[in-house]
Subunit: 334 residues, 2 copies
């Protein structure tokens, strides 16, 4: 690997001049500039971004911390962030937290130690206090799908409570009264806020929340199948099932079909997130759209604006979920 030194020697100029043409921030005469460019081309020179980063304490790369690398939710989120940043000539360093406090902290420290110019994190296990303290440091941290009052300027979040409300309201509007709910892990803010919205919708229609029609799942398909199995074993009838995300909804649908439910006539199901395959389930899944991809783009724009001084970008910090009507909810009115 050729270094800046070899380039300078071949071009017959100093290190500094080579550095200047690389970054073209200072004025260099066209003639010497061309000499340097030629030398670079001849040597196939590639700047070492590690050295550059050490010297300048910048890196033109943004750290991303997600819970998991697989799954439609994080995939869309990462893709949104990456495409926006890449278009701006920045690179992305991705690592995972697995929803465990230790791993989330470890991931963040890794990203900081790599001199990331900023971090976009989807963290679920670390406390608000930790995040607030973290933001005192030199690496700004932005939060995806999480709202922390003190960090409101750096949060891109979804109104999950509203989403939870919309889901259950859609069910009620279709004439359902006996409604079961499979929630996500309650330490996750997304999950608990969706549940709050669910309860608000019930209350608004004077339907009492029934503990026997409530199950806490794992946000995965198994949560849906385990949940529906549990719910059917209680001695309570229900005509509709609200799932706190689409993966659990798909698990529930599968379990339902295997156990003789007719969908949606025998059991209406609604999901949350509107992941790509919701539209390919049968029946197609009615759900709440979670615009993660757009939120990823927006998080990236926020970083571009704050950290890289792209002043004119318009930022929208709280996204509103919307109902996506498909065919997994039956109308029970009259």
């Amino acid at each position: 690997m050729a270094t800046i030194y070899e380039v300078s020697k071949l071009a017959g100029v100093s290190l500094a001049t080579v550095s200047r043409v690389m970054n073209n921030n200072a004025r260099v005469s066209d003639k010497t500039k061309q000499k340097v460019l030629d030398a670079m081309a001849e040597l196939g020179y590639r700047p070492n971004s590690i050295a550059r980063s050490l010297a300048s304490s910048r890196s033109d790369s943004i750290g991303i911390l997600v819970s998991e690398l697989h799954g439609p939710f994080f995939g869309q989120m990462m893709a949104g962030i990456e495409s926006e940043l890449r278009a701006a000539g920045k690179h992305v360093i991705i690592t995972t937290g697995h929803s465990e406090e230790d791993k989330e902290k470890d991931g963040i420290e890794f990203l900081i130690s790599r001199n990331c110019d900023a971090i976009i994190a989807h963290v679920e296990a670390v406390s608000d206090e930790y995040l607030i303290e973290l933001n005192e440091g030199k690496t700004p941290v932005y939060l995806m799908s999480r709202f922390v009052e003190e960090l409101s300027e750096k949060c891109i979040s979804l109104d999950n409570e509203l989403g939870g409300y919309l889901a259950t309201k859609a069910i009620i509007d279709n004439g359902h009264q006996k409604i079961a709910y499979i929630a996500g892990p309650q330490f996750k803010a997304d999950a608990s806020n969706r549940l709050l919205g669910h309860k608000r919708a019930l209350k608004e229609s004077n339907i009492e929340f029934n503990e026997d029609l409530f199950f806490i799942g794992d946000f995965k398909e198994t949560g849906g199948s385990d949940g529906l199995r549990y719910l059917t074993k209680q001695n309570e009838q229900f005509t509709a099932l609200v799932c706190a995300n689409d993966e659990m909804a798909s698990g529930a649908m599968k379990y339902a079909r295997e156990h003789g439910f007719r969908l949606p006539e025998g059991l209406s199901i609604i999901g949350f997130d509107n992941v790509i395959f919701a539209n390919y389930l049968y029946p197609t899944l009615t759900t709440i759209d979670n615009p993660v991809n757009s939120m990823g783009h927006m998080a990236a724009k926020l970083v571009l604006k704050d950290v890289y001084q792209k002043k004119k970008l318009e930022i929208e910090r709280v996204f509103e979920p919307t109902l996506i009507n498909r065919h997994s909810v039956a109308n029970h009115n009259n």
Copy 2:
């Protein structure tokens, strides 16, 4: 951020000694070691991995290049690689190539310039020659889902030809004779090898390959729907459709249902990859298992063995796909 220098001052030892206890590679007396450890703790010292990397030209991090960040295929692959490496105390730097030659090269050069100890790449657009030349460099490059003869030691691949054969053979074994095929982009080796297997299975059963029952899709859902639309417009009957991946199969299934086909009685469909949602489609999708997650693990093991001298790891370089029988293929025998 405290530096090694401040630690050395507080502990009353030299820089070198601090470095030694960090890496505990040289002997340090227990007493001084403890002093250093205490100083580190007191200062909340975190080593700067950039500086460390510059000085040692190692980084304990492995670069991963994937085509896309979203989608079940890459998600599983990344997750497999990451979990294996993380367990070994290594970190992962992920970037994308979007199946475009320029971006793939750019991604690889970024990873090299970040001093990655190795690169695991899923590249589709760059040539074999480029990859061979790349491997002359100091950063070893490992290939996922691609086999290059000269680099066979560094390839983790799937026998796609066999997979393509198995898919079509399964269809034929169920009594089908009129078989349509939706292929993937033929510049992708995966796609062209699957097609080769398809043709071998046809030939083996003396079924002629029919250009009118052939469509090249984009490996996405739209490829499936567009493909089936195209195929139904030709004046050729067919009872079965082989899709070169599950996403196209799901698109085809949806299109089929919307256009009056009964599944699987009216049209049998088989996919490829066995992505997570194949099991949640209706009817559940018969497909060919592509063990990407395992292959990810294996690629990581290969790196651990070659680059980090974990000699005793067992490496399997070519994976065999297997048929997953579900309910999207109807039996037409007698």
